[in-house]
Symmetry: D2
Subunit: 438 residues, 4 copies
């Protein structure tokens, strides 16, 4: 008789779900999932039904005997789960529009993983995630939570600090993308070199690229040019600057090292096309139209064009390594444990880890140069303050978070944007709107 | 017979020298200086003569038997000195004009203690300071060097790292000004409370204000408003922001926490009045006209209007405490020795110290909140990189320094401004213009 | 009208009280105590009456208007106190006899400030001290607790970790004795040099001796020889060893650096004369006979022959500096705050401090050499484990404490001695004798 | 054509060489060694010939085409090597006899990996190892040096600090033995659980034992009893003590946690049988008699009875993983890089590592409890001081090393034993006997 292997996906109505299904199908030999539960909330019910139907067609076509369940009752699904993945957007795309529009309207970057928008996505998400932790602790205490809800760094930090269930791993597709960029430069496959990563989520650096026993990072840095992720514009890195930095930045570093150009560009796009969220809404509508097609029984190619592509596959890969105690190296968000010396032992970092049956163990690769310590420390402080504000609902902590982030260049704007976002998201921020008077 | 007490002032032709003379006159009972040597370079000879003549009139009027000497030969002066003060501007005001104009012309803050301008003042100054260290080590190895040449933080860091003579103390008037602001708020004299300071030069925070055994910093933060130094515009702090920060910032923090408004303001002033350096030149000319008046035998009031006022008096005070082993508390730039936990043991910091005959001993007051760690780390990294670039003449290190500083918001602008400043200051940057090809 | 200044001495029936009285009398001008309360327990009532009567005669003779009160009700005394000193021995000399005899009978050092005996004195004392903290927090929350109850290091650690009132300062006479030894070597008065101390209680090192601006520690180390405290035997230090160590050890370091000779000596003395506690009992009896003499109105000379001499005077001196915000340097046990880099920020250390109205601020003098880090870390771990065991009553934590201490050389003996001491002190260890079965 | 893979074994005449040969034979498929060079010195020539002849018979019997070379010229062998293993005893068994006899004759533990004997083995070995580093840097700079010459911790520390070639890995069989002990307790194979190790060489602790995703260390600690290595006596651990410690000690911890019993036992054995070295000499003689047998073509069973058994196999295993970039986990001595938070970044530690083509990367498993920090810090300081003394020949540094080690309980004995050992090993300690006058 087959052993039970139960996986729960919270936010199962996401447009990314087909990638997840594909990931489980292609790994079925090594990862014989018995039950997969897609969970969503009332507002997401119709999307959930669409993705579930597509998922069933995919499983049937692949002839893979995974039982698929859908439910709006999270607790029903969690009972005895082995792995829980979380992908959600509290307040859905309407909230994201506000996260982007309000900062942009005051000349600040508006974006849902960092800066003012990232802070508010964190403030809305963290209480929900912590509630899920409570359910997991009660219903499936041995389960690993694999989170790819942004802002991943702040959410992981919050779970490590405040969660009753600490078995959390944050996940991002950025390091994989960077490795592919390095592979292009080295004209070889990713298997033929070994890159070490250290930093924070969306603030990760590659600090060594080993090939045939030699560190070839200087060669890679000299050729590091246009690297983009789907939802941020490609801009050219100056290889002199990269050399001065001494490590390879990730695409999101553009927000900081090309702050001026990036902001100008974002403001221009906003003036022309509105927010990215509004574009995403359009793309999502089209995707769900595709998904409804009863003849479709595989992940459509169009999904790969989105910013979050490969997240779900990375999640399947991580689950597979834990399940099989593979002890291979993956880059995840987890507790530092000394890997990055100037950050706290208990803080969430993004770092190369050995993936064991007992979860990720960071590798001590994190000796980052002075050139990046300050920025990392600032974003770490931002994450800590954001997590604290999300839990306490304290206005001043939220203001501090806003101001620490280098994307905010003025104490005055910080307050204005903070106050507008608090008002705009009132409905999803009960922690701020009890006794509090700003 | 009176014991010898010899003081050497390098940059003796400075317009601030009368304050120094006044400082020695008023402390003569406790600090019986026997010889004071004013040293300057050929280009400063006429100024040196003017300040020396005024100084002689001041000493005579006060009836204080300090022998005054002037020389253009630094080594002659240093022989057996007990204290050496250093106040200089390599390239004089012409260089400062460039330090301000070039960054401003590219929309960056242009200023001689921080950012691009501060970096270049450091690159020009540090080699000269290190040469002075060599002379001191040879001619008066027990002497303390009291430096108030900006950028004080970077210069102190450079001496601690690369100097053959390590007995250096950096000095700034900012903490004194902040204490006066606190005294205004508390409606009492500075003697009646005890403020602890920790951070870096021009990036120092007050983290406790003890009065009658109680920390009243919350009260002070709630009322902290307009605090300015002479050469930067007063802008109002938002007390909500200060409360969120959790410590009291110094006036120079405006560059960061009000980056947007401050930059707009600086650019506007530049458009209207040209650089600050050009205004200073006008003020200096007027001051020296005053100094020439043979009837003047005291420090003119006008000197107190300048940004550097009280530096020289602070230097006299510091020298007096060392000489007498007073063990009182002063805020100076010195080696950290663990006082600020997240910075290196050997790094230069600005912190409350006990002043002993053996120099300053930092007090362990430096537990700063997360809200400021990132910014401090960035500026510390900036100072380290600047010091290294000044010594090595390495282009990439200079570029890294430029880019680490949060006042530079673009890798592209960093290179442009760096290249222009290197070209503009070529004459004073031999370390960069040997074999180097950018 | 005179301002109130109320001091409470818990353990007021101690034979050391006359020194305390003398200390307040001689400082009355600077420290105008209005009320002094001597507190003791029922078992100490007759001693309390004797010391109080002597104290009254002393105050009268000195014509100093301090109101003297005695009480067996601690809470009555504490109301609105400004300073609370604590000097006590739970279980009195009978308990000390056991602390010494049981370890010695198994060939281990038996001593009430370190090793097995020190651990048990801590286990008995800490719960009482923490209760006093509760009373202080309720009845006089602004008061400083000045503790000289041994083991001072473990008690201070316990208050910092578990106390509801954290304003505690531990005090010891060892650094003063070391300074006097240095003065002898330098043939000068203690005022003419400045020694910095860092380490733990009874494990403190002098790491600099500044005289006329020069560190003369090498000279002092070369001559460091016989240094003793009253209750441990003088043994000669080998100056080659001191030079190898690189810092000056305190007398209690004999337990470690001369472990073999010291133990042999202690065992021999024990065989000949019984425990030190038994001798002390004899001395105490004689002292109290002296105290009863109605003609005695000053501190008898004989008191200075005891090991605890100068503690009380040091306490008066400390109180005087806090009261007057003197900001002079004293060596006390307080929170590290980064002063000793390899120990935790929150851990209790013994270090040179500036004494302010707000208490001691450690000076950053604690860069101790590798030669002593391990031993300090072991004793710090011993103190932490002891404090934890005292609060939790956990057998395994107590066993760990016993075994960490280098004075215990065998896991087997550790258990035997632990079990015997637990049994012997059962009455005073309620935390261990609830549910616990060893 | 086959790629070159050249291995050099310095100390090739060692009696352990047959194990190394066996290790290469059984891994030949994955590790196709082309050349193996056995190097020894003139005094070891006859042994080298015996082991080489046996090795040739073993290779022939196994039909493995590894070219075997012998030489007394180290530099000839090193040219273009890929891996260099080092196993040697400067002064041979005669020196070991002195390392054991002299301390034992003064009542101290006499042993060649720790304490006084370990220090002197380090003092003799380190200069030779550093010379080998120079040769490697010149002749085969990409080669990894795999050192299993004791004291491995001190030697590794010395190479990391003072070596011109830093690619060194220290190796020990202790963790493997501990894993086997754990396997016995869990009644399963080593493959079925995952133990993490952290500490120093011969001072390593197991701090987690993961089995099926759960840490079962409490179960293992409860049953941890008699664990021995070949050359130290089995003594029973008290499981209560282990529980108090909170981690699993290694067999060598007996020297510290059973110091008294262990010393008594060693002294008794010494009185009865003389030194261990003398017994080893007898065993070696017998082994070489066996090796001479022309019919012997495999590793004799008797070799497994010796203390150093499995070292050579571990070396083959390590080389195999590096060569194949296996990224499996092995416990080796390497640079800390933050894995053990309270030790320095650059210090040598023994810790679970991922073995990559670029060498070992420590895993961040090193959060050891307070109970063991002090002892580890002491031994680390001992290793640092020993390495420094070996390089500088400074008497006081050697004395400090001797005294830091907890196995030395008296400053007086430290000097006596130090002086006797210096005199006894004069011939092999040129660094001490140039200008030096003790």
């Amino acid at each position: 008789m087959k052993e039970k292997l139960k996986i729960v996906t919270i936010g199962g109505g996401s447009s990314y779900t087909p990638e997840l299904i594909e990931g489980f199908i292609k790994r079925y030999d090594k990862l014989p999932v018995t039950e997969l539960w897609l969970v969503d909330i009332e507002e997401g019910k119709s999307k959930l039904e669409i993705t579930a139907a597509l998922a069933r067609r995919m499983l049937e076509k692949a002839n893979v005997p995974i039982e698929l369940h859908t439910t709006l009752d999270r607790r029903e699904a969690l009972k005895d789960a082995d792995f829980v993945t979380t992908q959600m957007r509290i307040g859905q795309l309407d909230a994201r529009i506000l996260d982007e529009r309000i900062p942009l309207s005051h000349g600040m970057l508006g974006q849902e993983t960092n800066g003012a928008g990232g802070l508010f996505k964190g403030l809305r998400t963290i209480p929900v995630i912590l509630d899920i932790c409570k359910d997991i602790q009660e219903l499936c205490p041995n389960a690993w939570m694999i989170n790819f809800t942004n802002p991943v760094g702040m959410v992981t930090e919050a779970v490590l600090r405040y969660g009753v269930h600490k078995k959390v791993i944050g996940l991002c597709n950025v390091p994989i993308g960077m490795e592919e960029g390095i592979a292009d430069i080295l004209k070889t496959d990713r298997k033929n070199f070994f890159t070490t990563f250290a930093g924070l989520n969306h603030m990760v650096y590659a600090n060594h690229v080993y090939k045939d026993g030699v560190d070839v990072i200087d060669e890679v840095m000299g050729k590091w040019g246009v690297q983009s992720v789907k939802n941020i514009k490609a801009m050219e890195w100056d290889s002199n600057f990269i050399k001065a930095l001494g490590v390879i930045p990730c695409p999101y570093h553009r927000y900081f090292y090309m702050a001026k150009e990036n902001l100008e560009d974002e403001l221009e796009k906003y003036a022309q096309h509105g927010t990215r969220a509004e574009q995403v809404r359009q793309i999502e509508t089209e995707l769900f139209e595709l998904y409804k097609n009863p003849d479709l029984a595989e992940k459509p190619k169009q999904l790969e064009q989105r910013g979050g592509a490969f997240y779900s596959d990375a999640a399947c890969n991580l689950i597979c390594s834990i399940y099989n105690d593979t002890r291979d190296v993956q880059v995840v968000d987890t507790m530092n444990r000394g890997a990055i010396g100037f950050l706290g032992y208990d803080q969430a970092v993004e770092v190369s880890c050995v993936i064991t049956k007992e979860g990720p163990v960071p590798m001590a690769v994190g000796d980052l140069p002075d050139s990046v310590k300050g920025l990392i420390q600032q974003i770490k402080s931002f994450e800590i303050a954001g997590a604290k504000a999300a839990v306490t609902g304290d206005y001043y902590t939220a203001l501090m978070a806003m101001m620490i982030n280098p994307l905010c260049a003025s104490q005055r704007d910080a307050r204005i944007v903070l106050d507008e976002l608090l008002e705009a998201h009132k409905k999803y921020l009960p922690q701020f709107f009890g006794d509090w008077k700003g």
